[in-house]
Symmetry: C2
Subunit: 409 residues, 2 copies
């Protein structure tokens, strides 16, 4: 059994026992997202820094006592997590910032951070004996769920906006999913997947609906904490769509703080695209999220109705962080910069946090000496069209040395 | 300093000291590929199974004493290697084979096995003080070299056939390479890159020209050996283009055998596409490699003039292995099978070895009880067009439940 004590509604505060409830708070409806409360006193007895150091399991399951897993036998085979946290020496030199790290979470099985929550979804589905899983997604949650489902023999039904990058849809199909490419936005695909869940009884992995997804996402930050040897950064830059990853990061630090391994928390910075920045506006304003029509190249965070808005805004404000928006041009420039300077290949949403960090530095919101971690959430191979826009053109030549020389002039 | 004792010409057998020589044997010309000879007696003194077990470095550098690295400070920052070796339970059940493993080497930084040799190339270039690197490639060696070069600030000049998948070219450009997309085959790009190396003095990473690339490639098998706890498989299935990876695999087992950690060697099986199978024909015939015009969807192994042919044929024959060719249809089926059954997403060349294993089983060349390892060399995101051919089609629907129900009928 896991160390989950209860599930608590974000809105009304009612607490439920884990077995009592599957998705959201019955009192508050779909807005009533549930938070997972752990029994830290019990966890402390078996989870120590020293024991952690001895573990040879280099994956997200390294942090099993902090995860909502009742039956570890239901964990799938794919190796998720323990992605590199790079010291990015060349970027440090170039920007004159001596304390910046980049976590490359595009190194997961289906090439995005979303493999973490999907791995949890698969465990929960199997614990419940479910055979069919579903989700709505801009693409990455979908491909991660599809891959994880395939690896354990569950059938997956996936809803994506028809405009999702073709690489992400190709992944889904190779993983054997039934793919509904919806003529509409991600927000419409989301609502439709909830309806379909109720109609067909599929197990639903949607962000900010399934209460366990934040718990999967937090493992990226649990790793950052350990990889930084329990030193806490001043700022952590996170790309934000639904707002679930940034709440996962907050949860990780809260967990580790509650266990007494760290004595302060980082400021969380939400980065969004200019063309879709409801969370940024809310965080920098009165906290109210106003829905928008998304318009950005960063498809993974093109979310006009952020489902985890209440929790995300709360977590960012509580951390004393802020929001910052960047243009699509800045996002593409960040792709090229990360690639050229450090050999890290990010998709647009994956480079967004870095673009935000650069902008925050320019605007004086952070200082060169600050200790900073930037999260890259997905690999650039997931969106080759955008990469082409960022990268420029090849020189097409005939196969002879003269042709090479001509390009040099 | 490394434990490299000498470099020995594959053709004439002349031995050189490491400092004496950069690429191929001056006596034999470009055909005179050099093999790296280690001082196993010295390595034995510091490299033991027990010491290996204690190492916390989970990357290809775990095997540093067996690598041609004189100055470890020149190792780049990207985390290369220690990719998962999966027990593939669902595939075992489906095929009735209880002893099959799959090594997913698409989990490397630029999503292919080629990150391993490129990491070595970067070390050697930096040890020599070189600032510019080059290679010819069907795509993966190129993107891996470009990424590794970017991460340490070397300039890269890359030659690829114009027909390389756009994802691979996009990677190169994002990494800041100067990309020469050659109107011609890989084989023409290869020759041109050697000419350009001589003309411009760039450091050349070409397979079967730069003598150290086999040493990088062997790390995939060093990991397999350790991940299988030093149990040796009966057969190891490897996709073959130039024939450098399969010689790398042979070298790894030779190294570990020479150190006395294992007492036998696996049979190596070369898998190629029907439309480009010069090595398969040679291995199954008289050993002579006849050049062909490549015609296959598996771009990474579409090599009509296999540069490492002499070494590869020798290694496969010596291992008592064999060659097998599969159709493009079988390659695409293997992509879908690996994705659907196990959540592993392979590019065409990446799934080729698995397709070969399935065919070898059907033809009675191997048995269900044999202990088998199959190598997946690159991620499917590198070639989305082929993935689409393998995966099938999404269901395009309006955003309402009726539309979902209609697809169910």
């Amino acid at each position: 059994m896991s160390y989950v004590k209860k599930l608590k509604c974000l809105l009304c505060g009612i607490e439920y026992k884990p077995k009592e409830i599957k998705y959201t708070c019955p009192q508050c409806g779909d807005e009533g997202i549930l938070e997972i409360i752990y029994d830290y006193a019990e966890i402390k007895k078996i989870f120590t820094k020293e024991k952690l150091k001895m573990k040879s399991e280099y994956s997200m399951w390294r942090y099993l006592p902090l995860l909502p897993v009742d039956n570890p036998a239901k964990i799938g085979p794919s190796k998720v997590g323990w992605t590199p946290l790079y010291e990015v020496i060349r970027i440090r030199e170039d920007l004159g910032m001596s304390n910046i790290w980049i976590k490359d979470d595009g190194r997961n099985p289906t090439a995005s951070l979303k493999d973490r929550p999907s791995a949890i979804a698969i465990v929960k589905a199997r614990e419940l004996g479910e055979k069919m899983v579903t989700c709505a997604s801009t693409g990455n949650a979908a491909s991660s769920l599809a891959g994880a489902a395939a690896s354990v023999g569950l059938k997956s039904y996936i809803f994506v906006p028809q405009t999702a990058p073709s690489a992400k849809i190709a992944q889904l199909l190779v993983f054997g999913s039934t793919v509904f490419a919806v003529r509409g936005t991600y927000d419409e695909a989301f609502d439709l997947s909830i309806e379909a869940t109720r109609e067909f009884g599929w197990y639903n992995r949607n962000t900010a609906f399934n209460p366990y997804m934040v718990e999967g996402k937090k493992t990226v930050a649990l790793e950052i904490i350990e990889q930084m040897d329990f030193k806490v950064p001043d700022y952590l830059f996170v790309p934000v769509g639904d707002g679930c990853i940034i709440s996962g990061v907050a949860k990780a630090y809260k967990d580790i703080f509650s266990l007494g391994f760290i004595d302060r928390l980082p400021k969380l910075v939400a980065v969004q695209a200019e063309g879709c920045k409801p969370i940024v506006e809310a965080v920098n304003g009165d906290g109210e999220v106003k829905f928008v029509e998304p318009n950005t190249i960063a498809d993974s965070i093109a979310v006009g109705i952020p489902r985890n808005r209440v929790m995300a805004v709360r977590d960012i404000k509580k951390s004393m962080g802020f929001g910052i928006a960047v243009s699509d041009k800045e996002i593409l420039e960040a792709i090229k910069y990360l690639g050229t300077k450090q050999g890290i290949f990010a998709e647009p949403a994956g480079s967004t946090a870095f673009a935000g960090m650069v902008k925050a530095l320019k605007e004086g919101k952070i200082s060169k000496g600050d200790k900073i971690v930037v999260l890259v959430t997905g690999n650039g191979l997931k969106d080759v069209e955008s990469a082409k826009k960022a990268g420029g053109e090849a020189l097409i030549i005939d196969p002879n040395l003269e042709a090479v020389k001509e390009t040099m002039n």
